[in-house]
């Protein structure tokens, strides 16, 4: 005898909503890959896709979300590393004495921030 209740609606395991969100996050990771947010969107896309499967199999939109997020993550990482290298190079080229002189010119005399011109007795936190 079959005990299955055919009137009961079939409940799919996993969350289709999270799977779709993962797909959208994957697209966002590509769109924002040139800014720093691309990496965050990509990681969230991967995590949402993995969490959306519940105790069942991973859904198609979640799979696509993972693919897009991985591409977004790779582009985002390349952009991030190249910007860091560029900023690092620019910083190493800077003339620090010039920057300090400018910073001392901008600050008012009673600012309380120590500089070469103002005598200081320690820092208060």
């Amino acid at each position: 005898m079959d005990n299955y209740n055919y009137n009961e609606p079939y409940q799919e395991s996993g969350s289709p909503g999270m799977a779709k969100t993962a797909f959208i996050l994957g697209i966002c990771s590509l769109l924002f890959s040139l800014s720093g947010m691309g990496i965050t969107f990509a990681v969230m896309g991967i995590i949402f896709a993995l969490l959306s499967r519940g105790s069942g199999k991973i859904q198609k939109s979640a799979k696509n979300g993972i693919r897009l997020s991985i591409v977004g993550l790779i582009i985002g990482c390349i952009v991030m590393i190249s910007s860091l290298v560029y900023v690092g190079r620019e910083i190493s080229k800077m003339d620090w004495n010039d920057i300090r002189e400018n910073y001392e010119d901008i600050l008012p005399d009673d600012s309380g921030i120590p500089s070469d011109d103002t005598p200081s007795h320690g820092i208060s936190l």
Binding site: S13, G14, S15, M18, I39, T40, A42, V43, M44, I46, I47, F48, L51, R53, G54, S55, L73, W96, I99, R100, P114, D116, S120, H121, G122, I123, L125
Partner: protein
């Protein structure tokens, strides 16, 4: 491995539809923790004296014990989610309203161990490095400040990482004590620690794998993503551990 896979899939399924309220509760807990930690840090760095260092350790310890009581509320939510029961933000204050003395004793013992391996080395390191570089603040250059901050932060992370791992390994036998206190209102504090170490006997490896190694990838990924994805990873981690407790308790 098989057990870990099963528990994780159960946790994922149980969490569907519960992420919002769990994340909300966790964010309130994190906000309170952050405010308390910042206050401790401000108090510790207010003056670089031995008195401030010692009183800083004591204050840090007391606040950590109180925060752990709030943390027990998070475990109440994770256990409820794992059992497919409804959860509420009010669960956060569960330990304060259900024989708080038992939670207080357990958290004090755990807090003492945690303090010895994380807070004490951290305070000693902070006092030492700020004392050593006191001259730096009289006439600082941007390069010096950046170099100091980088050195200080790397040392801080190293101490927290090693201390955290050592504490985790020492507290491994007592990992189930909070769940036991939540489930049995008549169970005493010391009895919960004893029962927990009895339950954990022979399960250290599987717990270490489930709680630490199997989530390492998620935590690394969350770190790369700027910690925002951790809001979804943390509930998953917590509910998986609650599932592990239920398995040891022959519920699963």
């Amino acid at each position: 491995m098989k057990q870990s896979k099963y528990l994780k899939s159960e946790a994922r399924e149980a969490l569907i539809g519960n992420y919002g309220i769990y994340i909300g509760t966790y964010m309130i807990f994190s906000l309170i923790s952050l405010c308390v930690t910042m206050f401790i840090y401000w108090y510790l760095l207010r003056s670089m004296s031995t008195f401030s260092a010692i009183s800083g350790i004591i204050i840090a310890f007391l606040f950590n014990v109180l925060l752990s009581l709030l943390g027990a509320g998070i475990w109440v939510s994770s256990l409820s989610v794992s059992r497919r029961q409804p959860i509420a933000v009010g669960n956060l204050f569960y330990a304060f309203t259900h024989h708080s003395d038992r939670f207080l004793i357990v958290e004090t013992i755990k807090g003492l161990i945690r303090m010895v391996f994380t807070i004490v080395p951290l305070v000693i390191y902070t006092s030492y490095i700020f004392g050593k570089n006191e001259n730096l603040f009289t006439n600082p250059t941007l390069q010096d400040i950046l170099g100091f901050a980088l050195n200080y932060m790397s040392g801080l992370l190293l101490i927290l990482g090693i201390g955290g791992l050592v504490t985790f390994l020492i507290l491994l036998p007592f990992s189930m004590s909070t769940f036991l206190l939540i489930d049995n209102e008549n169970l005493g504090a010391i009895d919960s620690l004893r029962t927990s170490s009895r339950m954990m006997k022979g399960n250290f490896k599987s717990y270490f794998y489930l709680s630490f190694l199997s989530f390492l990838g998620f935590y690394v990924l969350g770190g790369i993503g700027g910690s925002i994805p951790m809001l979804w990873v943390t509930p998953y981690h917590h509910v998986t551990i609650a599932g592990f407790y239920r398995q040891l308790n022959h519920e699963l």
